[in-house]
């Protein structure tokens, strides 16, 4: 399937619900008939990247997500149906309001993803952050689910995941758009940043506290990426305009997909341009 073209490295960034935009970027690859040689993902980017690496097409992923999130009612039903251990399996008693991602993912992710890194069709790495060492951890072997859970365990919302004795949290805290990790394994690097456009609707209205907090976190993510771009940049950098969506706006999936359409077109354009004239 991989034509004798440049090896493409695809990096999908973190951004919770905004990361649903990744689905369209993967559709762009399908529609151009090109496959990445390696995928790196952080948080929501890890989930989408792993799904693609497991063999799901962009279109299939779109259908999965829509079936899961398209209607809030259906989500609740499906969710409740699978919740065998009761809520106690999901919510830790000792640290209330903290979701156990491993349990959550085991329930929600399709069969194809309940595997091992080694069984993936495209080499894939997930980025997590070592909580105590404050450093990046690149997960590339072992069972997939704990790695994805670690990569997307937003502190105070999801419980950290312990792998090999290290307490791991959301990879976005050290590397929100992990293109630098795969550059040496690709000839052409594509990075997708879903933390939202840098500009927001200007104003002086003081938002609600939670909005301020998530907004502040978003700015921190941006700052890391901006500083990283100064030292090393990918060949193609795509930033879908999903800044207007909140981190937990999963049920606005249709709107997020729509907002990501221009970015998909841009990615297709840039990618085909690059592939036509090598070098």
């Amino acid at each position: 399937m991989t034509a004798p073209g440049p090896r493409i490295g695809l990096a999908l960034g973190g951004g919770s619900a905004r990361g649903l935009a990744h689905v369209l970027m993967l559709e762009a690859f399908d529609e151009l008939g090109v496959k990445p040689a390696i995928i790196a993902g952080t948080s929501m980017g890890a989930i989408c990247g792993a799904a693609y690496a497991a063999g799901l097409s962009g279109a299939e992923m779109r259908a999965e997500f829509l079936a899961l999130l398209g209607r809030r009612r259906h989500f609740v039903r499906r969710f409740a149906g699978k919740l065998r251990g009761g809520f106690s399996a999901l919510w830790s008693v000792r640290a209330p309001a903290v979701v156990d991602n491993v349990t959550l993912f085991e329930m929600l992710l399709p069969e194809a993803m309940r595997r091992d890194f080694a069984s993936l069709k495209i080499p894939f790495v997930a980025i997590a952050a070592d909580f105590y060492a404050i450093e990046q951890v690149v997960l590339d072997k072992g069972p997939l689910i704990p790695a994805l859970a670690a990569s997307s365990s937003l502190p105070s919302l999801a419980r950290p995941v312990v792998i090999d004795g290290r307490v791991l949290i959301d990879g976005g805290f050290v590397n929100p758009v992990p293109y630098d990790v795969i550059m040496d394994r690709a000839d052409l690097t594509v990075a997708v940043d879903v933390t939202g456009d840098t500009k927001r609707r200007p104003g002086t209205k003081i938002p609600r506290t939670l909005d301020l907090l998530t907004g502040a976190t978003q700015i921190l993510f941006h700052s890391i990426t901006r500083e990283k771009l100064k030292s090393v940049a990918p060949d193609i950098f795509i930033r879908p305009e999903v800044g207007g969506f909140g981190a937990l706006d999963y049920f606005r999936i249709a709107e997020i997909f729509e907002a990501a359409e221009p970015a998909k077109a841009l990615l297709k354009h840039k990618l085909s341009q690059r592939l036509e004239k090598p070098g």
Partner: protein, 330 residues
């Protein structure tokens, strides 16, 4: 402004004519930033004076106090007094807030329960502090975050207090500060350690990092939800600094190991200063060494042109884009 008489041996030997100028960057980190006081003491004790200071958040507070002409000793005494006596009410407010940050998260739509940083500053700052950037003895750059623009804004002129208030407006604790129709928050969101702002303006750049690192709490491997929330900001700030260091490095970088203190541990003033004591000595050693080597290398260049009495005027905002393209590799 005149150098104090207590010159070190090193300076006598190697700094005969013009001394290399020093730019000082003081980072953000809440209560951990109390350690900045010790770093300022080093400057006083060596008889050195930065020619430009950049500060973020708590770094802006102490940077402004020092740039106002207050000695480190006076700043220390004032801070100690404020934190032990006058601070009682504020301390209660702060400690009431520190644990239940999660409560704020849970009871989502709270908007009113935020402190106004301007009011806090009125209590905290010494009365002798400058009111306007123009009154400062050392040029100062204060970093804040434009919340809606999601970008760094550097204040270097106009009213000082509102700029500092903007720089330290930590989300969920302080309400944002509106200046000139823009809404500002803690500068640590974009530039927790602003040494890059003064890189070209002094011969030697000194950066003091007080961002700390999460520490293992007891035997539990899992941090509590509260601890992980507090630490997550630290981790993000560390990551920003780490990426910045890949592009450019300050000549002197001091990582003050104040890990075990939380952002709001202002009441642990004495412990924080005690913990930061080794960093103070480290700064002194590094500063003396770098000064010696810099002077030896650049002596001819210094002797020829007189170092400018006043640094060039600072623009309100730094040309970030230019910097970006310069650091960019095609």
């Amino acid at each position: 402004m005149k150098p104090t008489g207590k010159a070190l041996q090193v300076r006598k030997q190697t700094l005969p004519v013009g001394r290399p100028s020093i730019g000082l960057a003081l980072g953000g980190g809440g209560a951990r930033g109390l350690a900045h006081i010790l770093m300022l003491e080093v400057f006083d004790e060596l008889g050195l004076r930065p020619t430009v200071i950049a500060g973020t958040s708590i770094g802006a507070v102490f940077g402004a106090a020092y740039a106002s002409g207050l000695s480190a000793r006076l700043i220390r005494a004032h801070t100690e007094e404020v934190l032990s006596q006058r601070f009682d009410t504020i301390r209660q407010l702060l400690s009431a807030r520190s644990e239940p940050v999660l409560k704020i998260l849970n009871i989502l739509p709270i908007r009113s329960a935020l402190l106004k940083p301007e009011l806090l500053l009125e209590y905290l700052l010494p009365s002798r502090m400058a009111r306007d950037f123009a009154d400062l003895q050392i040029p100062l750059k204060v970093v804040a975050t434009d919340y809606y623009g999601q970008e760094q804004v550097v204040f270097s002129e106009g009213p000082l207090r509102s700029a500092i208030a903007a720089s330290m407006a930590l989300p969920a604790l302080f309400s944002p500060v509106t200046i000139g129709g823009r809404m500002f928050m803690d500068g640590g969101l974009v530039n927790p350690l602003p040494f890059d702002l003064i890189k070209g303006e002094a011969d030697i750049t000194v950066a003091v990092d007080v961002s700390g690192a999460p520490i293992m709490a007891g035997k539990r491997a899992h941090p509590s939800a509260f601890a992980s929330l507090m630490s997550s900001v630290q981790i993000l700030q560390r990551s920003i600094v780490r990426e910045k260091l890949k592009v450019q490095q300050p000549d002197v970088y001091v990582d003050v190991e104040v890990d075990e203190f939380y952002v709001l541990d202002f009441h642990r003033f004495k412990q924080i200063l005690a913990t930061a004591a080794p960093a103070k000595e480290q700064l002194r050693r590094q500063l003396v060494r770098v000064l010696a080597s810099q002077t030896a290398e650049t002596l001819p260049a210094i002797v020829a042109p007189e170092p400018p009495a006043h640094p060039p005027p600072h623009k309100r905002r730094l040309p970030r884009l230019k910097r970006l393209s310069r650091g960019h590799k095609a």
